[in-house]
C-alpha cells in the first residue's frame, strides 16, 4: 500500500536560511500526525510543501503516490483540506458560501452543494441558521468550526492544519480539538497538524514528529519518544506538559 504522504530529501532555502534540510517523512493513511517544534523550526514550511503553498528547492513530495510537482496546484489543493490559525474566511461571502467554495470550484451541482453545506454544519456542530450570516458575526471558535467545515467540504482524504486552534481560548480550544479528533476517526481522514503545544500534540495525535532548524530530530508515538529519545531538547519538550500537570495538581491540592 502506498503511503498517503511521502516526502524524500525535501529542502527549502529562504536566502541564506535553510527552512527545511533534507527532510524525509512517510505518513500512512488514517494516521493523525503532529508536527511539533519552536518558531523557525520549519514545521509550517514542511506542511505547506504538501499542498504546494511552498515549492521546495530539493527533493520530492508525493501525495497518494503522485508527485505534487507534476500536478496543477489548484487541482491538488481542491483534494486536500487546509485549515490555518487565521482561518481566512472570505468576508464578502456568507458562512454557507464560504463552506461551499471548493465544491463550487469543482463544479458540483447546486442541490448537491446545498445538501453538503447542511451536512457539514451538523458535522462541526454549528446551528443551520449561521449559514446565511456574515463571518464577522461569529465568535472565534465558531469561525474556526466554519474553517474546518470549508476544508472538509469537497470530501478530502487528507487534512493539513496549521496551528488550527492556536488563537482560541483554552476551553474552546479543548472542545474543538476533541471534536476534530472524533471527526478524524469517523471520516477515516489522514491528518497532519502543526502545533507548538506538546500537550495538544500528545492529546490528539497518534504520532509526533519533532523538528529543529529544518530537520526531524524525533519521530514516534508519545510513549516511544519518552522511552527512546536521548536528545535533551526533545526530552525537555516532552516532559514539559507532564511537569506542568504535576505542578498544577500540587498547587490545586495545596489550595484545597
Amino acid at each position: 500500500m502506498t503511503a498517503a504522504i511521502e516526502l524524500s530529501g525535501v529542502g527549502k532555502r529562504y536566502g541564506a536560511l535553510a527552512a527545511l534540510a533534507d527532510v524525509s517523512l512517510s505518513v500512512e493513511a488514517g494516521q493523525f500526525t503532529a508536527l511539533v517544534g519552536g518558531s523557525g523550526s520549519g514545521k509550517t514550511t514542511l506542511l505547506k510543501t504538501i499542498n504546494r503553498l511552498v515549492a521546495p528547492d530539493a527533493g520530492t513530495v508525493r501525495v497518494q503516490g503522485e508527485d505534487v510537482a507534476a500536478l496543477e496546484p489548484p487541482a491538488l489543493r481542491r483534494r486536500i483540506g487546509y485549515v490555518f490559525q487565521e482561518v481566512g474566511l472570505f468576508p464578502h461571502l456568507s458562512v454557507g458560501e464560504n463552506i461551499a467554495i471548493t465544491p463550487k470550484l469543482l463544479g458540483w451541482d447546486r442541490a448537491k452543494i446545498a445538501a453538503r453545506v447542511e451536512a457539514l454544519l451538523d458535522l462541526v456542530a454549528l446551528p443551520q441558521e449561521v449559514a446565511t450570516r456574515a463571518p464577522a458575526a461569529l465568535s472565534g471558535g465558531q469561525r474556526q468550526r466554519v474553517g474546518v467545515a470549508r476544508a472538509l467540504a469537497a470530501e478530502p482524504a487528507l487534512m493539513l492544519m496549521d496551528e488550527p486552534f492556536g488563537a482560541l481560548d483554552p476551553l474552546t480550544r479543548d472542545a474543538l480539538g476533541a471534536d476534530y479528533r472524533a471527526l478524524h476517526d469517523r471520516l477515516g481522514l489522514t491528518t497532519v497538524m502543526v502545533t507548538h503545544d506538546m500537550a495538544e500534540a500528545v492529546l490528539l495525535a497518534d504520532r509526533i514528529v519533532v523538528l529543529r532548524e529544518g530537520r526531524i530530530v524525533a519521530d514516534g508515538t508519545a510513549a516511544d519518544l519518552l522511552a527512546k529519545t536521548a536528545d535533551p531538547d526533545v526530552r525537555a519538550l516532552l516532559e514539559a506538559p507532564r511537569r506542568q500537570a504535576e505542578r498544577l495538581r500540587a498547587k490545586l491540592a495545596g489550595a484545597a
Binding site: 491538488l76 489543493r77 464578502h92
Partner: protein, 517 residues
C-alpha cells in the same frame, strides 16, 4: 439678464451632451486601461513604481497643455495614416480631448486599485490559494470584490477631475460646457461664465453622488444600492446624449473662430450667410491661432477669418514688410501653392497690433510714436495679450525700436484694457479694430519704421472647398464690405459692460448694413 440666461439654457442640451459624452468615454477608457494595469502593478513590485510614477507625472502636466499637446501628435499620426492607408482622421475636437482626459483620469483609479488589491488581508489570500482557486479565480472572486470600495472611491475622484478638466477641451475644438466659460470670458458675459461653472459643478456633483451610491453598495455589500447607482448613471448619460442624436449627421460646412469677440461675430456672420444659402453649418470656436490655420489646411475647418500679418509672419515665416497690397498678393499666391488654401479676399478692414496709451499719460510723457515710446520704455509697464510676447511681430518691433520695458505683463484681452484704464499698465498691445480704442478715446502710437506688418482680415477657404460655388457665392459679398468703423462698432457692442449684444446679434446688426450685390 434674463435674456442672457435664456440664451445659455438654449445652448445647454448640446454643450451638456458633448460634455457628458466626452467625460463618460474618457472615464470608461480610463477604467478599462487602469484596472488591468493596477492588477499587474499589484502583482509585480518592479512594475508598480514606474506605473504609479508615470501616472503621477502625467498629472503634473497642466491639463490645458496636455490637451494642446495631443493636437500636433494626432496631426502627425493622421498624416502617417493618410500616407499609408490613404485615410486620415480629425486631429481636432473629440479625439485629442478624449485621449488627454483619459490619461488625466488614470492616476486616482490606478493608485486606488493597486492599494485596494494590495490591502486585501494576506490570510484571505492564503485561504483563496488553500481552497484551490487559480490566480484568476482568486482575482475575480476574492481580491477585486474586496478591493471594490477602494477602487470605486478612485473612480469617483477620477470622475470629478475629468468632468472639471473637460471644460478645457473647448480650445482644441471640442464642444463642452467650457464653451460657456471661454466665450463668456472673451465677451465679458459673466452670466455665461457662471452658468458654465455651475453646470459643470452640478454635473460633477451628480456623477459623484451616483458613483458614491455604487461605492456604498460595494462597501456595505448591498448589491441593490450599487445597481441603483449604476442605473442612475446609465439613465443620466442616456438622457444627456439624447439631444446629440440630432447633431450626429455631418455638417456640410464647419466655420471656425479664434478666441475673441471679432472672430465670434465674423463666424456668426458667415454661418448665417451659409445657412441662408441652404447649407448646414457647425461652428468650431475658441481655437488657438496656430491650430486654426492648420485645421483649415487639413480640411477640418472649411472657412474662417485670419489676418494677413499673422499668416505672413507665423505661417510663411517672413520678417520683411513690403506693404499692405504686396503682402496680400504674395500671401494669396503662396498659401494656394503651399497648402491649397484659398484667400477669398480682404473684408475691408485691418485688425493690426497697435501700441495704445491713455491720452493723459501719452501727453504727460510726450509720446506719440513708437520711437518716443522707446525713449520712455525703461520707466513703463507693457500689458499684452497672452500670445503677443511670443509672436514674431513683437520681436520685429523690439528689434526696430529697442523697447526695454521695466515690466511686461500678459492678460486676457478683456483684462488688458482694464489694466490700462486702472494704471497697472502704461501701454498695451491692442488691436486696431477693437471698439474700446474709440470708446475710451485711447491714443494709437504710430509706427514710422513700418515694423508692424499689415493685418487685413481675410477669409480663408479650405482646399476641399476651393471649388464650392455655394460657399464662395455666399461669402464673396463680404469682401471689401466691412469698414473698420463697422467692425469697431460691432466689437464694442459685444465687449461693452452695459447693454451688450451676443455675437450673433452683433452679426445680424452688421449684416443689415452690408450692401446687397
Amino acid at each position: 439678464m434674463n435674456e442672457r440666461l435664456a440664451a445659455a439654457f438654449a445652448l445647454l442640451p448640446e454643450y451638456l451632451g458633448w460634455h457628458v459624452l466626452l467625460s463618460a468615454s474618457a472615464l470608461l477608457l480610463g477604467v478599462l486601461i487602469s484596472l488591468p494595469l493596477a492588477v499587474a502593478a499589484s502583482r509585480s513590485p518592479r512594475l508598480r513604481w514606474p506605473v504609479l510614477a508615470g501616472a503621477s507625472l502625467i498629472q503634473t502636466i497642466p491639463s490645458l497643455a496636455l490637451l494642446a499637446l495631443f493636437y500636433p501628435l494626432l496631426l502627425a499620426l493622421s498624416a502617417l495614416s493618410k500616407a499609408w492607408f490613404g485615410q486620415g482622421f480629425s486631429a481636432l475636437g473629440f479625439l485629442p480631448s478624449l485621449l488627454a482626459l483619459t490619461l488625466y483620469s488614470m492616476l486616482p483609479i490606478l493608485r486606488n486599485s493597486a492599494a485596494g488589491i494590495l490591502g486585501v488581508d494576506p490570510a484571505v489570500r492564503e485561504a483563496a490559494d488553500g481552497v484551490g482557486m487559480t490566480p484568476r479565480q482568486r482575482l475575480f472572486q476574492v481580491e477585486l470584490p474586496l478591493a471594490a470600495p477602494v477602487i470605486m472611491a478612485g473612480i469617483r475622484t477620477a470622475a470629478v477631475w475629468t468632468i472639471g478638466a473637460a471644460t478645457l477641451s473647448t480650445p482644441v475644438g471640442q464642444t463642452s460646457l467650457g464653451n460657456y466659460i471661454f466665450a463668456g470670458l472673451q465677451t465679458e458675459n459673466w452670466v455665461f461664465v457662471l452658468f458654465g461653472c455651475a453646470a459643470s459643478a452640478v454635473l460633477a456633483l451628480v456623477a459623484d453622488q451616483l458613483l458614491g451610491l455604487v461605492e456604498a453598495g460595494a462597501r456595505l455589500r448591498k448589491p441593490l444600492l450599487a445597481i441603483l447607482g449604476a442605473a442612475g448613471l446609465a439613465v443620466g448619460v442616456a438622457v444627456a446624449l439624447l439631444p446629440l442624436a440630432g447633431f450626429g449627421k455631418p455638417a456640410t460646412y464647419v466655420v471656425g473662430a479664434k478666441n475673441f469677440s471679432e472672430q465670434y461675430i465674423l463666424a456668426e456672420l458667415m454661418a448665417d450667410r451659409l445657412q441662408r444659402a441652404g447649407g448646414e453649418v457647425r461652428r468650431k470656436e475658441d481655437l488657438g491661432s496656430a491650430v486654426a490655420y492648420r485645421a483649415l489646411a487639413a480640411g477640418e475647418l472649411d472657412v474662417y477669418v485670419d489676418y494677413s500679418g499673422t499668416l505672413w509672419t507665423n505661417v510663411l515665416g517672413r520678417k520683411d514688410n513690403p506693404g499692405r497690397a504686396e503682402v496680400l498678393k504674395q500671401l494669396t499666391a503662396e498659401l494656394k501653392r503651399r497648402d491649397g488654401v484659398t484667400v477669398l479676399g480682404s473684408l475691408g478692414f485691418e485688425n493690426a497690433y497697435a501700441f495704445v496709451m491713455r491720452p493723459d499719460r501719452a501727453r504727460a510723457l510726450g509720446v506719440a510714436t513708437l520711437a518716443d515710446l522707446a525713449r520712455e520704455a525703461p520707466k513703463l509697464t507693457l500689458g499684452s495679450d497672452l500670445e503677443f510676447l511670443s509672436r514674431p511681430e513683437w520681436k520685429a518691433v523690439d528689434a526696430a525700436y529697442g523697447l526695454g520695458f521695466k515690466t511686461k505683463r500678459s492678460y486676457q484681452p478683456t483684462f488688458m484694457y482694464r489694466a490700462l484704464s486702472g494704471g497697472e499698465a502704461d501701454v498695451i498691445s491692442a488691436f486696431s479694430s477693437d471698439g474700446r480704442i474709440a470708446a475710451d478715446k485711447l491714443v494709437i502710437l504710430s509706427d514710422p519704421k513700418g515694423a508692424i506688418p499689415p493685418y487685413d482680415a481675410v477669409v480663408l477657404i479650405s482646399p476641399k472647398r476651393a471649388g464650392d460655388r455655394r460657399l464662395i457665392d455666399a461669402l464673396k459679398p463680404l469682401i471689401g464690405a466691412i469698414p473698420v468703423e463697422a467692425m469697431q462698432a460691432a466689437n464694442y457692442s459685444v465687449d461693452r459692460d452695459a447693454g451688450k449684444l451676443s455675437p450673433a446679434e452683433a452679426a445680424r446688426a452688421m449684416e443689415a448694413k452690408i450692401p446687397a450685390r
